[in-house]
């Protein structure tokens, strides 16, 4: 499973005594309260969220018109830099304000456990920053790793996967749709009640938080009219060789196991697609199907196929699994872990889903909340049940319900607390994030801007760009080791000049 991947989490925020009109300022304040060495100033080289991988650039992205109710006319306009308040951290991660949410983007990772550890490290970093801000402002702050406010607003937990540019876009979209419609059966975070459901009875438990907010099959939009397959074309590396699949249809997972399985399975499916394989099925109505799957906790509802016939969500997943087993068994430990857990999870989902309450978020949440709901005779969409749902995603380890389950030893872990702590201050040693973290840690004062694919230095009255576009393959580990021993910026720059002369790759 030789692929770069990462996760971005937009946290929900709540500050005692304040409201949604304050969230931009409060998110900025939380981000600026992050402790430890960091560098500000994001370098947007090569970034344009309007660029569509289907070969065009849209003039603008759609936004949720209801958000304007939170825009106060009295609020002073800010520059993009001020509003984002980027902090690039020593572990190679990016922490910033995005649309009124503190957002943590993990460094690029190459192994499942590294990514799980860095995703959890993000929760701890964000929580610590919120605690510092709370002391400063004398108002308690809660951060939630979820995807809905139960009032019609959603915010994202995105995944990024580096993939080959030469894979046809149409194939990527068509082959991914059935997978994304059904991936929620193990990657869904669970939700009390329905949203955007018209006349449908909202008194239901759902598998996915995000399903109610997906309205088109493929699009470059992310803030409104959200797609199952996001076609944004921002590779963050050499565009002629790579694309980055930006996945926005997924849920925020609290469970380490669910995060690991989500990343592992998606990465393997991308390998199948890169090899030209297709699942051989087309869902008649992908958007209708994603909602049907989300509402079907029995996992028995058949989904209609184009051309006739129907198939269950579990069996769609098995089409992908069986092909991945045939092609990739024994390739490496991450692949084998993913294939084994994918198979056993699908089997258990078919026979007794409740047995997965120790590892899948939607099952854990259901198992925790349903007895209370029955005893109190509450509706799933009642404010009390939705408050408990929200509390499941509270990232405060002392109050969050997920962390209560983890504390009592119920949840299956993939990484140790020690590994998460290490990820708070150290980047993966086998990706370019290591160089980013190293530069922030040692030469932060000389950095003018930093991005996913480069670092802008100011040294001896000269501005220099360290182009990191070529550094996405495994051999970056060699460069990482070399750079670790360099003592000063002169040595770094001399080394870089030499590397580029020799053809950095």
């Amino acid at each position: 499973m030789n692929r770069l991947f990462g996760i971005e989490t937009e946290y929900g925020i709540e500050v005692e005594g304040l409201g949604a009109s304050d969230w931009i300022d409060e998110s900025i304040a939380v981000v600026r309260s992050v402790s430890g060495p960091s560098v500000g100033g994001w370098n947007y080289r090569g970034e344009d969220p309007r660029r569509d991988m289907r070969g065009y650039v849209v003039t603008s992205l759609t936004t949720n018109p209801e958000d304007s109710m939170f825009d106060l006319p009295s609020r002073k306009p800010m520059s993009r830099e001020e509003e984002r308040s980027d902090r690039i951290l020593v572990n190679g991660a990016r922490f910033y304000n995005d649309h009124g949410h503190p957002e943590y983007a993990t460094p690029e990772c190459r192994s499942i456990k590294d990514l799980v550890a860095h995703d959890k490290a993000g929760d701890r970093i964000a929580f610590a920053a919120a605690e510092r801000r709370a002391i400063q402002s004398n108002r308690s702050i809660s951060l939630y790793k979820n995807n809905t406010d139960f009032h019609g607003s959603s915010y994202g937990t995105h995944e990024s996967y580096l993939m080959r540019r030469d894979t046809p876009v149409d194939l990527v979209i068509s082959a991914l749709l059935p997978f994304f419609v059904t991936r929620q059966i193990f990657a869904g975070a669970g939700k009390c009640g329905l949203e955007n459901c018209g006349r449908e009875d909202p008194d239901r438990y759902q598998i996915s938080q995000r399903a109610d907010y997906l309205s088109v099959e493929a699009s470059v939009d992310t803030l409104h009219n959200r797609p199952l397959v996001n076609t944004r074309d921002e590779p963050h590396t050499t565009p002629s060789k790579y694309r980055r699949l930006h996945v926005i249809c997924g849920d925020a997972n609290m469970s380490e196991y669910a995060t690991g399985l989500k990343i592992g399975t998606t990465s393997l499916v991308l390998s199948l697609i890169e090899a030209g394989w297709t699942p051989g099925i087309v869902l008649k109505e992908a958007i209708k199907s994603v909602r049907m799957v989300s509402r079907d906790i029995s996992l028995t509802q058949p989904l209609e196929l184009e051309g006739g016939g129907s198939i269950k969500a579990i069996d769609i997943q098995r089409i992908y699994l069986n092909e991945a087993v045939k092609r990739y068994s024994g390739e490496d430990s991450d692949t084998d872990w993913t294939l084994a857990e994918w198979a056993s999870t699908l089997n258990t989902l078919e026979t007794n889903p409740m047995q997965l309450a120790d590892r899948l978020d939607w099952v854990a949440k259901f198992a925790l909340l349903n007895p209370f709901r029955l005893e109190e005779e509450l509706k799933w969409n009642s404010p009390h049940m939705q408050s408990l749902d929200l509390a499941y995603h509270d990232i405060n380890p002392q109050t969050g319900l997920y962390y209560g389950l983890e504390h009592e030893g119920t949840m299956r872990r993939l990484v140790t607390d020690g590994r998460i702590t290490a990820a708070m201050s150290g980047a993966p040693c086998d990706t370019r994030a290591f160089l980013r973290g190293l530069m922030v840690n040692r030469f932060g004062g000389s950095i003018e801007g930093i991005g996913w694919n480069g670092i802008l230095f100011r040294h001896n009255d000269e501005t220099m760009l360290f182009d990191m576009n070529p550094l996405v393959e495994e051999n970056v580990s060699i460069l990482n080791e070399e750079f670790q021993s360099l003592q000063n910026l002169d040595q770094v720059i001399a080394n870089l000049r030499q590397q580029y002369k020799e053809g950095l790759n």
Binding site: D67, F70, G100, F150, H158, S387, G400
Partner: protein, 62 residues
């Protein structure tokens, strides 16, 4: 002959290793049952403000 309790010889009692340790023989061993401490979780659930979701409003994100 009558024996009185005070005349009975009291031998010191020293702890001895049991003939067979639990779980290493053919007989039934003590089952390994770890019961999760659910009191902390219940306390967390009780402390959740039932109206918090009603108040919770966010701007749309991505």
């Amino acid at each position: 002959m009558e024996f009185y309790a005070e005349e009975r010889k009291q031998l010191p009692v020293t702890p001895v290793e049991p003939m067979r340790k639990e779980g290493d023989g053919d007989g039934p061993g003590k089952p390994e049952v770890t019961r999760p401490d659910t009191s902390d979780l219940l306390r967390r659930m009780k402390r959740v403000d039932p109206d918090s979701a009603r108040r919770y409003r966010q701007r749309s994100g991505q």
